[in-house]
Symmetry: C2
Subunit: 198 residues, 2 copies
C-alpha cells in the first residue's frame, strides 16, 4: 500500500539508548540522534515523537532489557546464593565497555527533580528489581543457604542498595581491585557463608 520503513525500530532504539547513555539527556542533541540512528529528523519525529518521548522509549527498552538480564542472571546459577553473590560483583565486569553506570540511575540523577515520569519509572523499575531479587533470596532460603528467618524483600532491598552503591563508586573511577574487594566484603557481610558445602 505504501513505502515500507527502511529501519528497524529496535536497532534505532538501541543506538539512541547508547547515545543517551554516553552523553546524558540534555547533552545529546538531535544531530547526535540523527547520526547514531542514521535517520533524518522527519523519520525520527514521525516514528517516535519529540526528543523526550524518544528518550522515554529508549529508557523503557533499557529497563526491559535489564530486567530480562537480571531474571536470567538470577535463575542461571544452580544455587541461588551464588546468583546473589554474582549480583554484587557484576558491576565490576562492566560488560558495556566504559564505566557509564546504569542508564536508569543516571537519568534519575539528571532528570529526577524535573521529570515526574522519569521518577515514576525509576520507582517502578526498582520495585521490579526488588521483587526479582526477593524471589532469588527466597529460593536461597529454600535451598538452605540463607536463614529463613529473614524477610526476603528486606534483604533484597539491602542487596540492591549495596549494588547501586558499587555501580556508583565504579563510576568515580575507583580501581578494579578495590572495587572487587569492596564487593566481596559486602557480599560476605550481607550473604552468610553456605551452611552446608555440598
Amino acid at each position: 500500500m505504501a513505502r515500507p520503513r527502511t529501519f528497524d525500530e529496535k536497532q534505532v532504539l538501541t543506538a539512541v539508548r547508547d547515545q543517551f547513555w554516553d552523553a546524558g539527556y540534555a547533552a545529546t542533541s538531535l544531530e547526535d540522534l540523527m547520526r547514531v540512528s542514521g535517520l533524518g529528523k522527519g523519520s525520527l519525529y514521525a516514528a517516535f515523537g519529540d526528543k523526550r518521548q524518544l528518550f522515554l522509549r529508549a529508557l523503557r527498552s533499557y529497563t526491559d532489557d535489564s530486567h530480562d538480564a537480571l531474571r536470567k542472571a538470577l535463575s542461571e546459577p544452580p544455587r541461588a546464593l551464588d546468583a546473589l553473590r554474582l549480583l554484587l560483583e557484576a558491576p565490576i565486569d562492566d560488560p558495556t565497555g566504559t564505566r557509564r553506570g546504569c542508564l536508569m540511575a543516571n537519568s534519575t540523577c539528571e532528570l529526577g527533580n524535573a521529570d515526574p515520569e522519569v521518577l515514576a519509572h525509576a520507582h517502578r523499575t526498582y520495585e521490579t528489581s526488588t521483587a526479582l531479587i526477593g524471589d532469588c533470596v527466597a529460593r536461597a532460603q529454600h535451598e538452605g543457604d540463607l536463614p529463613s528467618s529473614a524477610d526476603p524483600i528486606a534483604l533484597a532491598r539491602a542487596l540492591l542498595a549495596a549494588q547501586q552503591g558499587l555501580v556508583f563508586m565504579s563510576r568515580t573511577g575507583l580501581d578494579t581491585a578495590t572495587l572487587t574487594a569492596t564487593a566481596q566484603s559486602l557480599a560476605a557481610q550481607l550473604l552468610p557463608d553456605r551452611t552446608d558445602a555440598r
Copy 2:
C-alpha cells in the same frame, strides 16, 4: 581605590549551588543563575568566569561543606559505632528539603562521561570520605565496638557504598518507612551489635 562588590561571594555560591542541585548542570540556564544570585551576567562572568567554572566552584564548595559536616557527624557521638550507624540513616532525614540526592553524585552521573575534571573531583571526594569514615571505624575498633581484625578502610568503603545506594533509592521516591528499614537492615549486617552494653 575602586567600587566595592555589592555581593558576598559565599552567598552567591550557595544560591548557585542550590540551583544546580535542583535542576542539574545542563538544565540550568544563565538566566536561572542570574535570578538566584541577583547578579547581572557581567558580574557573574567577571567574578567566576564562564558557566562551567562557576559550576565547578559551586561543586567544590559543596564537597568542602559536606566533608565538614561529615567530620562533625562522625566525631560528635560519644561512641564511634553510633556515628557509623547514623551515617547510614542520615540519607532518610533529608535535611535539605526535597529528595534531591547528593550534588556530587548527581553531577558525576550527568557529566562523568564528558567532563574528566568532574570525575577526578568525584574520585578525590570519595577518597576523602572513605578516609574520614575509616578513621571513625578505627575509633570504634579502639573502643571495642568493632572487631579489630577487619581493615578499617575496607569497611569504610562498604559503608560508603551502602550509604550511596540508600541515597539513591531515596531519590526514586521510596517511602520513608521502607527506607528506614533498609538502612537499619544494612546497619545491622555491616555493623555488629556492641560487644558490651554500657
